[in-house]
Amino acid sequence: MSDAWTAVRGRPTRFLASAWPWRSLAYVGSTVPVGVAWLILLLVVLGVGVATIVVVAGLFVLAGVPRLARRAASGERRRLRLMFPERPANRPGRVSGPEIGVMVLLATVFWPVDAIALVMLSAPIVLLCAPVLVRHDVVDVAGWRVDHTGEAWAAAAAGLGALVLLAYAVTALACAQAALVRHLLEESKARLAEAVQQLRRSRSGLVDAFETERRRIERDLHDGVQQRLVALTMTLGSAELDLADGPGLDLVREAHHQAEQALADLRTTIRGIHPQVLTDHGLAAAVHEIAGRSPVPVHLRLALDGRLPSAVEAAAYFFVSENLTNVVRHAQARSAQVQARIEDHALIVSVVDDGIGGADPQAGTGLAGLHARIDALDGELDISSPTGGPTQVRMTCPIR
């Protein structure tokens, strides 16, 4: 029972035994009171609004019409579930013209049409009941006088036939009406999709801007503070050569050591922001550098040619860096393997170790941050770490 219109065109016995005639009846039937209610509400609001417009209050009242339209539309969305039970009602966005249209149609066209359909439905029901009714009185349906039992049974048979026809008619009416309402209201769905597109664009723009900014900070640190610190160590190193043994030399040595510590700290910081080797030489060189620093031996299989978008390179770099750190800290692994390749316009990077497994993807802020980073690039992060190992972490990131 995917939808009513398919059922109407299917086998009659199946259609008549299905819930569709009843659902359609409920839809058409409920349209009448709902439509009448909206008509009255609309008339009252418009009447009051127009009447009080001279004292300005009317403007406020009339300004409420779009809100009414929104209410009407959300009610219609709910009622649409009668006809489209498998399709969830989408969430309304801003009040749109079509929503007002639905309210107006509901208040002026739908309910009178549906009311006529319901009145017509009463005729076959009366005919169907003719054998019972005829015992008490003459039955008169649309000019057909039924006054004895034999004729009453014929009337009942005709009523049954008409009922079947009307079941089709009502379902078709409900289908048409629901399709129209859905068509009007789903305009806002298209708008929603557009909004999502725009959000996605602005998000990736934001990620790019973020990455550019990080590179700028890296360059500033490199060209500024780092150079000064290196120059400082050079000066101190020269001073050491000039000084004779004694407390003065000890102090200069101490200062030299401190300057080197500061330099090492700065280097670590820069690496965490956006490593120079990544900026200059791309992902493969940067991964080589991380692997070279790792205390656990790392096997590399990198099939990467040329440069990738910098946000993707950065995400992949931090993915490898974070996971190799985890391998060292938690996995008790003897070795790890990093693979990277491009497949179907996507970068796929994986880090596998031969450790004890049991890594918890929820634990630690590192992985969560990584997840957000990759997510923002429409990428995916998969972790498989059964107890006993091996731990396998994989990221896939589209390259646009």
């Binding site: 190193g237 550098e289 070279g292 620093r293």
Partner: protein
């Protein structure tokens, strides 16, 4: 050209290329202090090539990352110098370890000495000057940090897989430019033991029989990177 009244025994004519003014001045000061003559101090690779062509120095000390692209201008300039003036020794300075550099560096044609140091090392003035002398004398000096990182990558495959831990250690120290005597001192073993290790290394590595086996072994070692 001013005539130094008391020229040091190994006074070298040097060109310094470094874009950061502070470091350039610092390098010049250190080198001149040691009695070398800095014939030019330039801020970019183009100027380096021009001055090298004109002045024919003994040694070029250059930063790898220089304008305009801040990637590997210095390295490319070094390769050009190596091709046009193979006798000029080259000392490269880098802010960080990049594997690719080592491959490119050693891929260049044979010639004068070559060195690759991290900039931090310059602060250890005595060691730095020692490295400068070794490179000027035709030696190969690769920063200990670079060597350590490469060793980490080299365990798995390549021609070095057959070496023992001890042999690899000896080879790493050779790559840093140390003599057998210095290696023996650093490893707390006798010089004879070092020679035995080196003999084993030579036997195990596929070395070019026509070149200096020691240099060839170091090159094999440094080139053994899967990425380089």
């Amino acid at each position: 050209m001013p005539d130094p009244l008391t020229p040091p025994p190994k006074a070298l004519r040097i060109i310094v290329a470094e874009d950061a003014a502070l470091l350039r001045e610092g390098l010049v000061r250190i080198l001149e202090r040691a009695g070398h003559e800095v014939v030019a101090a330039v801020p970019d690779a183009q100027a380096l090539l021009t001055y090298t062509g004109n002045c024919r120095p003994d040694l070029v000390v250059t930063d790898i990352r220089m304008p305009p692209t801040h990637t590997d201008e210095g390295l490319r300039a070094a390769a050009t110098i190596r091709a046009t003036h193979p006798g000029i020794a080259i000392m490269l300075l880098s802010a960080y370890v990049a594997d690719a550099y080592v491959g490119e560096l050693l891929g260049s044609a044979p010639g004068g000495g070559i060195g690759y140091l991290l900039k931090d090392r310059v602060g250890h003035v005595r060691d730095f000057l020692d490295s400068v002398d070794r490179v000027a004398a035709g030696g190969t000096v690769v920063d200990g940090e670079v060597v350590r990182q490469l060793v980490g990558l080299r365990h798995a495959d390549g021609p070095l897989a057959g070496l023992t831990e001890r042999e690899r250690e000896v080879l790493a120290l050779m790559a840093e430019g140390h003599t057998n005597h210095a290696i023996a001192g650093k490893m707390f073993v006798s010089e004879a033991a070092v020679r035995k290790h080196i003999g084993n290394i030579f036997a195990k590595l596929p070395l070019d029989p026509h070149s200096d086996r020691r240099v060839s072994a170091v090159l094999t070692y440094l080139r053994g990177s899967p990425g380089a």
